[in-house]
Amino acid sequence: MTDTTSQSNLADKLLQRAAPGRAEFEDLVVVPIFAVIVALIVGALIMLATAVDIETIGRSYLALLQGSVGSMNAISETLTSAIPLVLAGLGLALGFRAGLFNIGAEGQIVVGGIAAVIVGFSFPNMPWIIHMPLALLAGAVAGGLYASIAGYLRAATGAHEVITTIMLNLSSYLLLSYMLGLEWMQRPGRSDPVSKSVLPSAELPRLLTDIDPNLRLHAGIFVMIAAVILVHWLLFKTRTGFEYRASGENPDAARYAGMHASAIIVFAMATAGALAGLAGANQVLGVLERATPGFSSGIGFDAISVALLGRSHPVGVLFAGLLFGALEAGGRQMQVDAGVSIDLISIIQALIIVFIAAPLLVRAIFPWGFKKPAGR
């Protein structure tokens, strides 16, 4: 105890990081891979059961592969679909880390999209270097404010965020159809609910049109990458992230440590909403160029799966978002080539989540893929 050199040697030893255990590797890599495989197999069985012949099943999976990574266009489509999923998924992941089961990404996407569209068509003559970031920012701010309603209600009254965010999702749809009928919002000369178009100066520019004008991949991918890095930094390198994670893991300990629970709840909700709002802004500024009813197309719900599949870790969310983007892009191809309904893709996505959530089941199906039964 008194020998100082041996003490500092001991301290150095404690600083060594154990090599990531086999169990962690299995959890993070092997289980998800097997889950995807099992889901695809079960998907095939479902097709069989619905009297789809084997040849068509083969063709559909081939189309799935081709449509997601088989060509330049496929990859572009996969990435384009992944952008909003990753952004909204990051927001949800952040909330999950803070112990908030925010399922309101859908509503936050809608509200963020509306704000981005309004800014996007309202400022002619603005240089793009200001206009485009401003429109993105408007989306983030709107999404953030919208989500903090639920955060505030939770912190001030204890109203559970699952309930309030569901209500806010529904309200957002109504808000959208109301606003699309407003004179200053609706596209002139149209009677159906379509907003004015986003001005070119606010659009997220397409990146690959030089190669092929049909490639839709847009600059939102940089927003997505920046968001992954930013959220990773926020969660793991900052005081705020430490507070989020502590409150999520053990609220009593967070209180004991002097952290401010209600501020954390409101702030975490707002950040989550801002990311979802950005996702909405990306859709309208990069893909759709206007807002229509249902432009969010359930991305906010798929993002829940993405966040869960990604284990609420920014890098995990990135990969999960890419996977779901690929399934979506490939699913469209599958529908075209093999005539199999795109609903099958939803089934496969759902199955992946089921198998991820039940690692023991996956381990039981593939005993040879794992070293030992979980945690023993």
Partner: protein, 503 residues
């Protein structure tokens, strides 16, 4: 039923928690298991109960080899474990908890609660457990909840009962009742493994003692002939001093001044009533009392976790009655919470994150919005060395530390900073004798450097050994005060005051 462990080895990554352990457990006998924090006691018992599977070695029941695939197999073979952390459903009744998972059912899966209640009552009677089968768990004191855990394993017809530090959370009176139950179980022919860090307990109750060190069995003891000192030395490998080295008593100015404090508990009942006291620099004030007489609420109010419903708290000359936890912490208040799992640590965080759980915001560890993790890591490793937290790395999840090492981690975090007032609730809960010695010396060190220290403990011996002044709480009030500087404390008088007998 006799059980034999042969050559059991269990590794967690680089740690060998059990190293070729042999152990025999016999029917009608209490086997005392003793060992330092992290020696591998809980791990070995988790293997015996089927929760972990050993890397090497075998388990024999009555000479026949058994292989457990999970805790279900352990209990099916008649081996039941009562964990230190109870696993009860608070909103269920005793009977419902007991039958959970093995519910007796009638036709159409009808839940036969009447039979269950009767069976619970029979077991109750047989071993003198005295638990009301219809009481809700959340209404029961810890000591009774523990009996429910015992009921659970008995209901599943366990012949071997493993009790992992059962007395750590009990009051002295509860311990006595608990020993009565253990004895009646033994006399009924059950085999019992009893883990504790309290040497007098192990001498009192066990028929045989095994000592574990560094994952190996290093000695056998005979409770009839051995003394606490011998046991302690066998355990830690050096003589242990049970006396606390205290510097001369030199109290300074008043640091903490509490006047007419009122605190309500979560049901809005008065938990602390009109309490006034002060703590001076260089002074240890012990708060004695049977658990549940307002001590917890008092500490919560002092540290800012609970609101004061009335009265006033002054700290360093400033009125802090309505000041936040963070601000009090900043002013130099340290707090070792009574229940480390509830609030003192985050099991899923690494050791280094836990080491800065409430100091991460300080300039030492943060600049701007960012935490300086390299500095945190270095400091955490140093704390771990100073407090002898046994771990291969500070990157380990705190939940994977042994119970006692978790406690050392929490105490290290609180004592290794600039403090003015140290508030320590059950500071040595779950610690081995060697570690208790060290923590006591650190608490005394804080006092001798001029800190005020408040100790709350259910161990009267601990309070008496450390305190310069002892306050006794009963029914939310301070009912007696004893001065240790005037002469030796009268344990009997304190005990009477704790029981509410006014002199």
């Amino acid at each position: 039923m006799d059980v034999e462990l042969r050559g059991i080895t269990k590794r967690f990554g680089p740690v060998t928690a059990n190293d070729n352990v042999n152990l025999t457990i016999r029917a009608g006998e209490v086997l005392g298991l003793l060992g330092e924090n992290g020696a591998g006691k809980s791990t070995m018992m988790n293997i015996l109960s089927g929760l972990y599977s050993p890397d090497e070695g075998e388990i024999l029941i009555d000479g026949k080899r058994v292989d457990f695939e999970g805790p279900g197999d352990g209990i099916a073979a008649g081996i039941g474990m009562v964990h230190q952390h109870f696993m009860l459903v608070p909103v269920f009744t005793v009977a419902e908890n007991v039958i959970l998972g093995v519910e007796p059912t009638g036709m159409f899966d009808y839940l036969d609660l009447a039979t269950a209640r009767k069976q619970v009552r029979d077991i109750n009677e047989k071993y003198g457990l005295q638990v009301n089968p219809d009481a809700l768990i959340e209404d029961l004191p810890v000591g009774i909840q523990q009996r429910v855990e015992i009921l659970k394993v008995l209901f599943r017809s366990a012949e071997v009962l493993i009790l992992d530090e059962p007395t750590a959370v009990l009051t002295p009176q509860e311990v006595e009742d608990f020993f009565g139950i253990v004895k009646s179980l033994r006399d009924a022919g059950k085999a019992i493994v009893f883990i504790t860090h309290k040497l007098h307990e192990i001498l009192e109750i066990s028929d045989r003692i095994n000592v574990l060190r560094g994952g190996r069995i290093t000695g056998e003891g005979d409770p009839k002939s051995m003394t606490e000192n011998q046991l302690a030395e066998m355990m830690v490998g050096r003589p242990v001093s049970f006396d606390v080295d205290k510097g001369p008593f030199k109290p300074g100015e008043t640091l903490l001044d509490v006047k007419n404090l009122m605190v309500l508990n979560e049901n809005d009942e008065t938990a602390v009533e009109n309490v006034s006291f002060h703590v001076r620099s260089g002074e240890v004030v012990g708060i004695a009392g049977v658990q549940g007489n307002g001590q917890s609420e008092l500490i919560e109010a002092l540290t800012g976790l609970a609101h004061a419903a009335g009265g006033k708290i002054d700290f360093l000359g400033r009125d802090i009655t309505n000041v936040s936890v963070r601000e009090r912490h900043r002013m130099g208040m340290a707090h070792v919470p009574e229940d480390r799992h509830k609030s003192g640590m985050i099991s899923n965080f690494t050791i280094y994150e836990n080491m800065v759980l409430n100091t991460y915001y300080e300039d030492r560890f943060s600049s701007g919005p960012a935490i300086k993790w390299p500095d945190v890591l270095k400091t955490a490793a140093q704390y771990a060395v100073d407090f002898d937290v046994r771990t291969p790395s500070v990157y380990l999840k705190a939940g994977n530390l042994s119970g006692g090492n978790q406690q050392k981690m929490v105490v290290a975090r609180e004592l290794e900073r600039e403090t003015k007032l140290v508030i320590a609730s059950q500071p040595t809960r779950g610690l081995d004798v060697g570690s208790i010695e060290y923590i006591h010396s650190r608490l005394m060190g804080a006092r001798d450097e001029g800190d005020g220290v408040i100790i709350v403990s259910s161990e009267l011996d601990e309070i008496m050994a450390l305190s310069d002044r002892v306050l006794v709480m009963y029914d939310g009030k301070i009912v007696a005060e004893f001065d240790a500087t005037a002469g030796p404390l009268d344990k009997n008088a304190i005990g009477l005051a704790m029981a509410g007998v006014t002199a």
